[in-house]
Amino acid sequence: MRDYVIRRLIQLVPLIIIVSVLIYGIIDLAPGDPLEQLLLDPDFTMEDLARLEQIYGVGGPFPERWAKWFWRLIRYQDLGVARFHPYPVWDLIVERVPITLRLSILAMSVSLLVAVPLGIFSAKRQYSSWDNFFTGLAFMGRSMPTFWFGIMLILIFGIYLGGTPLELPMGNLTSIIFTEGVPWITLQLDAAKHLILPVLVLGLAGMTGWTRYVRSTLLEVLRMDYIRTARAKGLSERVVIWKHAIRNVLIPLITLVALALPGLFAGAIITETIFAIPGMGRLIFSAVISKDFSLAVGALTFLCFLTIASNLLADILYAVVDPRVRYR
């Protein structure tokens, strides 16, 4: 097991290098360099340009620039300076990640809490009208444009239900009216209220996808011989499902959940834009919109590393939870 992890880690090295060359290359080769726009200003000299190129690390031939950038990243955790937020990119990312991570983990938990019971329910009553109903819902969830879903929720809970007890905040992480001396519990409740709609929007894909997944896997497992044996022993249906079948459903689900994290971060681009949440998603969006080179490269690199890390995590988790998996 330990050897397996070490071997996987070593295999990651070339992957990380190739991916980072690709990302750096794609964004680097894209036309439109904001620094050149500065030359339109008559007071802006070539020396200034050279100095700024030095600061942002954009001068010189491509391999040299990439190598310098990569070295600074692994040696000093330095991703350069964002142009339009005058902060180091590394600090911006470190500051924003926890916000999106919290949102993603909440969305995941809600999705799982919905998906597992619903999937089991549907599988136990295959082709019943309830099962068909949930199948329809799952298709609708898969076809739902998340941003539209979010806007409609804002329209309903923020505007039409405004002033009623069901009103929910339309955006941001907290209300801004708070001053000193507000009790802690009120602050927490306020923050929780702000999270309800974003978590629903972000968790929608997982909810529907995982429900289908639990249903189809359970159906497959229920056809297996050991389930027939369990039933033949006279065990109750509850024990058969919750003790015998469920494990074989949850093992692959764990992998799926681990693989979902990068997708949630990408999904957060939309969710955080709708609800004006200052997380990673909005950071990526603003980096792209303002053509901020260092920030875009940094944020995209972060997402790629997250993808690679969760792939690895999924493989390792699979080996840990499933004793049948043997890795040489």
Binding site: A299, C304, T307
Partner: protein, 306 residues
């Protein structure tokens, strides 16, 4: 298959009859898939709506009427008007043309790229296969949506750019799928027989293997149309997709967001029709395409799993 009501004499079976041909059997199976038929009907209605409405309407997609800004749905403007007094119904139809065109052309293009790369990989194998599949691994570890955003930002949101970007980023999954099919079909006896009588690689690929992957390709392209419609709408919603004044469902939604909190609507209240209808079109199109893809998969090959 048709139900056999009585035992027929052998001469009464006419195998050339349509219901016994491959596509006849497929159509029979498809027909019984209620949701797939529903999807086909809705999709046909949406396509017809997008094509016909601009032909018979009094309004163009850019006919402005400033005194009618933010009119709620009425008999004059069936689905209301937007912030410049343009008719939402006509814009939805034009947006439908754009969104459907982008999705269909992009899906077919990425399918072609995927089929070529997957086919080469699966058929020839060896170091080429290794190289191409590692390339796919690497590309798949870059998150698609942010990359789409970056490319759309730098190359601009014209119609063909958007199609190109989707084609470039969409082929990886399909190439894996096709490769798998090539690998397994290559091992079958009829391909071995073709090799034995000295058929050329080209003939084996195009005459023997490709036709057998047609079913997968058809299902794959259908499902990917649904995905592209959603992604394109999301890009446009962020202001990175198809650029105004060309209407697309996504950029109509984006514009509507600015007015959702307050606009001088006739009769007060938020202009919900600006937000509701474009989203509904995206949703219905994606839903019907997904139903259709699911039905096709079951009809073409009940054992096929994707």
């Amino acid at each position: 298959m048709p139900e056999v009501t009585s035992i027929k004499k052998s001469t009464e079976f006419d195998l050339s009859k349509e219901e016994y041909s491959y596509w006849g059997v497929v159509w029979n199976r498809f027909r019984r898939h209620r949701m797939a038929v529903f999807g086909l009907v809705i999709l046909t209605i949406i396509v017809l709506f997008s094509i016909i409405t601009p032909l018979i309407s009094h309004y163009e997609f850019d006919t402005m009427s400033l005194e009618d800004r933010f009119s709620p749905p009425s008999s004059q403007f069936l689905l209301g008007t937007d912030e410049l007094g343009r008719d939402v119904l006509v814009r939805l139809a034009y947006g439908g043309r754009v969104s459907l065109f982008v999705a269909i052309v992009a899906s077919i293009s990425s399918l072609i790229i995927g089929a070529i790369i997957g086919g080469i990989s699966g058929f020839f194998g060896g170091w080429l296969d290794n190289f191409l599949m590692r390339l796919v691994d690497v590309l798949l570890s870059i998150p698609t949506f942010p990359l789409l955003m970056i490319l759309a930002m730098y190359f601009g949101g014209s119609l063909w750019n958007i199609i190109l970007i989707f084609a470039i980023l969409g082929w990886m999954g399909e190439s894996r799928l096709i490769r798998g099919y090539f690998l397994s079909i290559k091992e079958t006896e009829f391909v071995e027989a073709a090799f034995a009588i000295g058929a050329s690689s080209r003939r084996i690929i195009f005459r023997h293997i490709m036709p057998n992957t047609l079913a997968v390709l058809l299902v794959s392209v259908t499902l990917s149309v649904g995905g592209v419609i959603l992604f394109e709408a999301a890009l446009s919603y962020l202001g990175l997709g198809i650029q105004p004044p060309t209407p697309s469902w996504g950029n109509m939604l984006q514009r509507s967001m600015e007015y959702i909190l307050g606009a001088p609507t006739k009769g007060g209240g938020p202009p919900w029709w600006l937000t509701f209808y474009p989203g509904l079109m995206i949703f219905l199109t994606a839903l019907s395409v997904n139903f259709l893809g699911d039905g096709l998969r079951d009809a073409l090959d009940p054992r096929m799993k994707m």
